[in-house]
């Protein structure tokens, strides 16, 4: 009984206890501390005499460089390598430090940074309604005297600000943009299908999407072709892969000292101190024999589909196959049928008349194919299948000539299907998918 009483007393006294000493001094109050923090961040941004270098990695991938100079008047001047104008002319806009869920840096009027997050796809080069999944509102994650690490609040982009030196202020974007300009000549390499990256005595097929800042390298493991794709960003000395390329024993993280020679149409560069080049090429670095064999061994049960005719010298559908009346697609049909016991392939024009409820395999040239020992497929003209409308003659004749060129085609596997690339000069190709 006494124990229970004692317990009650203790319980009651602990419930009724109070702490009278709850007055916080003014600078300890949360809102005071928060605004002090914001002021400190602002002071740090403003007090860097030569501003801040920044690399932004949008949620959508790749990376972009900036140079920001923050003013005490809540204005910021920006240079960037997002495009040539942004690299050449500084643009002034406004910024704000604001307490949201966390202390947040907001670029609150338009500057070069916003190009990446513009939902207008013609501005951003990204997706309609989404841009390149980038940010202009960033929560402040980590601060040291030399760096500030930020995370985008909408798209989870990452941005790292590094205190700039006088040298950086003058050269960071200029150098970065120069590397971008030199490398982006690869976009003009569009008359040939193959672009070859040669480093010392090693060669790869390479392709680049300079808008998305993405590089794809084809390499071989034994006889099997593999592709490696990485996002990249430009640096003052070249271009950095976001994922290192380690296929086939290589180890590439950077392409450096990028220069363009317009006379020879060559991008010169170095990789791990070894000189290299990127050039247009009439043939692949290594012929994908396996892909050609697989394509050639098709059973004839199914056709491949091409949305248009051949691309020639960089001109898509050069012979205007898609201008044929009621054109729907090309049914590229290996082993379509036999003639005197000989299997043949069809380059079939499929049409769909307005209001018709089904498409029709209309007509098209046929050819007998063979696989060469080095991995090309050569087509020999056989006959016209179906009723060819007379007016399609200027379209079908050059198409047939190209298709049945004696030097045949390389077979390249792609993300979507396969490409047949003319072995004549590497300047004509057609995309097929199933």
């Amino acid at each position: 009984m006494n124990k229970i009483l004692l317990f009650c007393l203790i319980l009651v006294s602990s419930l009724s206890g109070c702490q009278k000493d709850d007055e916080l001094s003014a600078d300890e109050k949360p809102d005071a501390r928060l605004s002090q923090t914001l002021e400190d961040y602002k002071a740090q941004l403003v007090n860097s005499e030569y501003g801040w270098k920044a690399v932004l990695q949008p949620g959508g991938g790749a990376g972009y460089s900036f140079l920001f100079k923050f003013g005490a008047n809540d204005r910021v001047s920006t240079l960037s390598d997002v495009n040539a104008t942004a690299a050449a002319t500084a643009l002034e806009s406004t910024y704000r430090l604001k307490a949201q869920q966390r202390p947040t840096l907001i670029f609150d009027t338009y500057t070069y940074l916003h190009i990446l997050s513009d939902p207008n796809e013609t501005v951003s080069g990204g997706d309609r309604g989404a841009g390149k999944y980038s940010d202009f509102e960033f929560s402040i994650d980590e601060v040291t005297p030399e760096t500030i690490t930020l995370t985008g609040t909408l798209q989870n982009s990452k941005m790292v600000l590094t205190k700039a030196t006088r040298e950086d202020a003058a050269n960071f974007i200029r150098n970065t943009a120069a590397m971008a300009k030199a490398f982006e000549n690869i976009s003009d390499f569009n008359t040939y299908y193959f672009k070859r990256l040669t480093i010392g005595n090693v060669a790869y097929d390479i392709s680049a999407d300079t808008n998305l800042r993405q590089i794809t390298i084809t390499y071989f493991e034994g006889e099997t072709a593999k592709t490696f794709t990485t996002d990249y960003y430009y640096t003052e000395t070249g271009l950095a892969f976001l994922t290192p390329f380690t296929g086939g024993g290589a180890n590439i993280t950077n392409l450096t000292a990028i220069q363009y020679n317009a006379t020879t149409r060559t991008i010169n560069l170095t990789v791990n101190n070894v000189a290299g080049t990127i050039q247009e090429s009439i043939r692949p670095a290594k012929i994908n024999v396996q892909a050609a064999r697989n394509f050639f061994n098709a059973t004839g049960e199914d056709y491949w589909l091409a949305e248009t005719g051949f691309t020639v010298n960089g001109v898509p559908d050069a012979y205007k196959v898609s201008s044929i009346a009621n054109f729907y697609f090309i049914a590229f049909w290996p082993k379509f049928d036999t003639s005197n016991g000989q299997a043949y392939d069809l380059f079939g024009v499929v049409t769909l008349a307005p209001n018709a409820d089904k498409s029709v395999l209309s007509f098209g040239p046929t050819a007998v194919s063979r696989l060469t020992s080095d991995g090309r497929i050569v087509y020999t003209y056989l006959k016209m299948w179906g009723e060819q409308p007379a007016e399609t003659e200027p379209i079908i004749t050059p198409t047939t000539q190209l298709w049945t060129d004696t030097r045949g085609f390389y077979v390249v596997t792609t993300e979507y299907g396969i490409d047949l690339v003319s072995a004549k000069d590497g300047k004509s190709w057609i995309h097929l998918y199933q």
């Binding site: 009650c8 007393l9 002034e92 806009s93 406004t94 430090l97 009027t109 338009y110 939902p119 202009f136």
Partner: protein, 282 residues
Amino acid sequence: MKTTLIKLFFLLLSVGFLGACTKEDDISEVELLGLGGETWVKGPIDTWLDQNYLDPYNIEVKYRFDRYEVALDKVLTPVREDKVILVMESIKKTWIEPYEQQAGANFIKTLSPKQFVLVGSPEYNSNGTITLGTAEGGRKVVLYKLNDFDKKNKAEVKEMLHTIHHEFGHILHQTIMYPTEFKNITTSYTASWNDFSLTDARSRGYITEYARASPDEDFVEMISIMLIEGRTGFNASVNSAPASAQALLRQKEALVVRYFKEAWNIDFYSLQTKTQTAINAL
């Protein structure tokens, strides 16, 4: 026994409460600091907006991006600084001033939305359309796609004014309702209005595709198109429609004119002329 104990416990508990202290917080000494980031060093744009919108009309123009003023999940971009005055000056000339001249100085002051929020990009919707403007309860108007604004591009200017006259139309009819017979002139309103072409909408007696969304939208689309296209432009649109639809559109036009006279004592055709003159003079 048990009850006694419990009683004893409560007795002690109440004693304990009496013994507890009272906390004396003198709130008069607490300075509210806010969380920061709501004010900034004023520049020429801020001064211009104060002089042309805030002081005369008590309209706040928010041009610095604030996520909490717009859809939280939409990808949008802020407006370019060099567009702010350009846009707001054009709006003043082609929306505020014609109304002021026609309906007196207090008309806009009384009825105008109290806040404009400016956004640089369009807002993209999942059904493939884009939003150019929204209004909330007659208080706030959000204008989008302003980074493309060029006052020499009359089509773009009209597109933007379309939004403002449209949203202001909503404020007008939410203040004084339009004649109910308007709702019965055409009745094929549909939520999937965007699946139909303009020609299709016109042939059914709607001035725009969006007018088919509901009678309210139809009414304000009529006001907006009549003001931004002027009488000539509006007549041309009507005359391009089939005869049956022309009659419907003329009935709607007559009701809009009647509504402005009866509800607001405004001569609509005169307002229409003044708006046209202002647009052409930009």
